[in-house]
């Protein structure tokens, strides 16, 4: 499934890296402790988190996730969107909880 299809099905807001939504999503991972996520998220995962600081860009890039989904209405800290735009890191936003988002993903696969 493409990021664009996931975004449409789960009604996600596109925050950064417009034009890259044809990237493939092959899994899903939830986590907020960044060092933990860095070692566990798989390439191609849709990574769901409530963290919003600049380090999410570094972790998404290192773990090569398909996209980052900010849950529960979280918005990125100032400067994070710009960094993610530069690095082609897709960040999406939602008011749903991490559970609702992951359950939504599971229903699509």
């Amino acid at each position: 499934m493409k990021v664009s299809e996931l975004a449409k099905a789960l009604e996600l807001r596109l925050i950064s890296a417009e034009g890259y939504e044809d990237r493939e999503v092959t899994g899903c991972y939830i986590g907020d402790l960044l060092s933990w996520v860095m070692g566990r998220a798989e390439p191609g995962d849709a990574w769901i988190t409530i963290m919003s600081n600049i380090n999410i860009a570094a972790v998404a890039s290192l773990a090569d996730t398909a996209c980052v989904i900010l849950a529960e209405g979280v918005v990125p800290d100032p400067g994070v969107k710009e960094k993610c735009d530069m690095q082609d890191i897709i960040v999406l936003g939602s008011d749903k909880t991490a559970y609702e988002l992951a359950a939504g993903y599971a229903r699509l696969t």
Binding site: L33, M51, S52
Partner: protein, 179 residues
Amino acid sequence: MKELSLHILDIVQNSIKAKAKNITVDIDEDDSADKLTITITDDGCGMSEEFLANVRDPFTTTRTTRKTGMGISLFEAAAKQTGGALDIKSKLGEGTTLTVWFGLSSIDRAPLGDMAGTMVTIIGGAPDIDYIYRHKTGKGEFILDTRELREVLGDVPFNVPDVLNWINGYIEEGLADIS
């Protein structure tokens, strides 16, 4: 909490509740040691040894007294997840010093956050207390001392919008110079 400044606000509220007359917030960003150290010192009522022994335990503290919430245990957890630690020294009638350090470059370290806004909230909320905010980085040091401000302001109180806006801008500029 997603920013360290929110922890600082929380801890300083404890100092204010402890009837401190002077509160110092000291932040030291030490690149060579890879440490971010925050020290909050007050001359409030202090804590008994018994209270101090339990103050990090979220269950003991919330169940036996209402003086402290989860604040200290959460602050300690935030430090530990970056390889850091938290220490509290306190004496009844003399005051309390809380020192907490974080791995400066740890990816799990929350950003410091809006220190100018935090100090303004603190000063505006309890304007009769004197505060020193000292912030050191590899590029220099910024110090805000409300006793110096009082000399300039005379009878003008701190908790009016113009003064608080000025303090906010003053801190923001000072921090920009050393970041």
